[in-house]
Amino acid sequence: MSESSMIRPHATTAHHTSLGVDNRKLGVWAFIGSETLFFATLITTYFVFAPVNRARPDFQDPREFLDIELTTVLASILLASSLTMVLALSASKRGDRRWFTTWLLATVGLGLAFIGGQVYEFNHLYHEGLTLSSSLFGTTFFVLTGFHGTHVAIGVIWLLSVFFKVRTYPNSPENAMDVEIAGLYWHFVDLVWVAIFVLVYLI
């Protein structure tokens, strides 16, 4: 048996609930449920204020500011990161440390690329005159996408901390669960961008 496929004996303790599922995974799913409501509220606010924005003297037209090309690249980056994340989980369960490291760090890299793209977009919009206080569109847009970007940044930190914790024994049940729940959060962040991409940028 190769070193990479060995399971650390003392790391096999599971955290089962009375429902027969891991309590950390259940907690993360419940957290994701609450986050769904959080982002739904921000998206709803964006749409509710859109006609108000149009009626105000400081009206700024989203179509004049939003760059669909850059955003398509950002959407592709996050979708690609979801693939690398699920491949990292698959490799961790196989005990394949080499590919686990490759795919997880690729996910981190893609997450950083997304954040970099969003910083570029925000900087560009700022110099075009769209700020947090320039109009209702600016307020609702930056709050929504800013919170999403913050979630991506938190996800990157979470993934890195999981990587350094589990890299030696990625396939112990405890460590594989660490990877899985970090992955759930990461996929959720991608899921939110799927919604933002179509609702804010395309519609």
Partner: protein, 113 residues
């Protein structure tokens, strides 16, 4: 007993049978759907189809993307029912919230005071 424990542990830890090749396939479908979304947006800048139809198609395509991510990447399909409950119930509330406010305040310019 050991077998039972392994089976229990396997279920609790969400062992999934999808191969890496399957994940690449899902990612390919997601890429195609994203290309369709952007293509639809670009093509309809010429107003070739009605706005309501474009919006409907975009919502259908994004729903397909979201469902694929949740079912296959997040492994909700085939996972324990409690995970579906704690995610799908808030999602239903969230969808209801969005649709209700759209109906109530769409084109309503007074809400901001």
């Amino acid at each position: 007993m050991a077998g039972h424990h392994e089976e229990h542990s396997s279920h609790a830890h969400g062992e999934h049978s999808h191969s890496d090749r399957f994940y690449w396939l899902v990612a390919g479908v997601l890429a195609v759907v994203t290309a369709l979304e952007v293509g639809l947006f670009i093509v309809n800048e010429q107003h070739l189809i009605a706005k309501w139809l474009e919006v409907t198609l975009l919502l259908i395509l994004s729903t397909i993307k979201g469902a694929a991510v949740v079912m296959f990447f997040m492994h909700l399909k085939g996972d324990a029912g409690i995970f579906k409950f704690v995610f799908l119930v808030p999602l239903a509330f969230a969808t209801t919230l969005l649709l209700s406010f759209m109906v109530l305040f769409s084109e309503h310019v007074g809400i901001a005071g």
